[in-house]
Subunit: 197 residues, 2 copies
């Protein structure tokens, strides 16, 4: 059944497997409490071989930070729709909450944030993707406001930032207590966002 894999294919698969295993280790123990040996052992790979696929620990961390940032890009695509913009915003809130409130994602995000505080490379990748998401959200809010015709006293961009703040804050609370968002929490969140726009 299984095709015979070429050398490049198995190498890519191996590399991917190492990254995924490293991510698990980092979530469980944090970047700097995870040794290369931990990753190698858990991935079923020799210690030295990791250095055949990655330049070093720093490169591994950077790669995982990039992967995490790219998850946001997927969310962003589903944002701009032609239908009711308010409904689209609501589904975005739900999707972003669901993503952020997964404990593994939350843990990794905090770890990346701590790392970004000292590593300019990581902070750049983090901010770039975030700004992109922010811009899309800003447009969405502008569209909603144009329809409702109000005269909001909070700039679109600030409003977009606040919206993400609300979702992320709730996400942290949920992730920390390792539960699912309750109906009440989700409703409160949606109402809060609606009040902002």
């Amino acid at each position: 059944m299984s095709e015979k894999l070429s050398r490049a294919e198995t190498a890519d698969a191996r590399r991917k497997h190492i990254v995924e295993t490293a991510a698990i280790c980092f979530v469980e123990q944090g970047f700097h409490q995870t040794g290369i040996r931990d990753i190698a052992k858990r991935a079923g790979v020799s210690l030295g071989n990791i250095y055949n696929h990655f330049g070093g620990k720093t490169e591994l961390i950077a790669e995982i930070a990039t992967l995490e940032a790219e998850e946001l890009a997927e969310l962003q695509e589903g944002l701009t729709t032609n239908t009711d913009p308010l409904a689209a915003l609501e589904t975005f809130v739900e999707r972003y909450l669901k993503l952020c409130s997964q404990p593994e994602n939350a843990a990794l995000t905090i770890e990346i944030l701590a790392e970004a505080m000292r590593n300019p490379v990581i902070v750049e990748g983090f901010l770039t993707n975030r700004d992109s998401l922010l811009l899309a959200l800003e447009d969405q809010i502008a569209a909603i406001r144009k329809l409702s015709g109000g005269n909001p006293d909070i700039p679109d961009r600030d409003c977009a930032k606040f919206t993400l703040d609300l979702i992320e804050g709730l996400s942290m609370r949920i992730a920390f207590s390792e539960r699912k968002p309750s109906k009440r929490e989700l409703n409160s969140l949606k109402r809060a966002v609606k009040r902002l726009v």
Copy 2:
């Protein structure tokens, strides 16, 4: 000018000095990239002497986490006033924003958060003080709502949490770019909070 200090006093001062130095190191390098030797060298203290004042690195981290948590307690006291509750809320927003947006505090908070993800002792101290602050803020919001007489569709407690989320989110953005909050940002924040209550 300087009084002659008793032995116990110098010991306490020394201890305090070590804690403060450790905090600086932790902010700059993170908990797990800071060695005891780094702290000792920077504090002008011998390596072994640190273990005369602290049980070990873990204890040092826990102590700093506690100190950081206790900073919230001070804020909380100024919250409940008999005068205009809405004005009191506004000054709270300003004060909390000012506190959280200091880069050292922000960095330490993230570090503590990451640590709390794996250390139950730290997560407890963190949540305890935060719940206390949250309760005070909840009461404040309840008082405001009673005056305005509206029928809010967001529970007081959720509203309090969201308020902290907004302040903390903006704080992170400010701390990350190492600047002061602009007038526009502060105004947007206040307006957003007002919309929530």
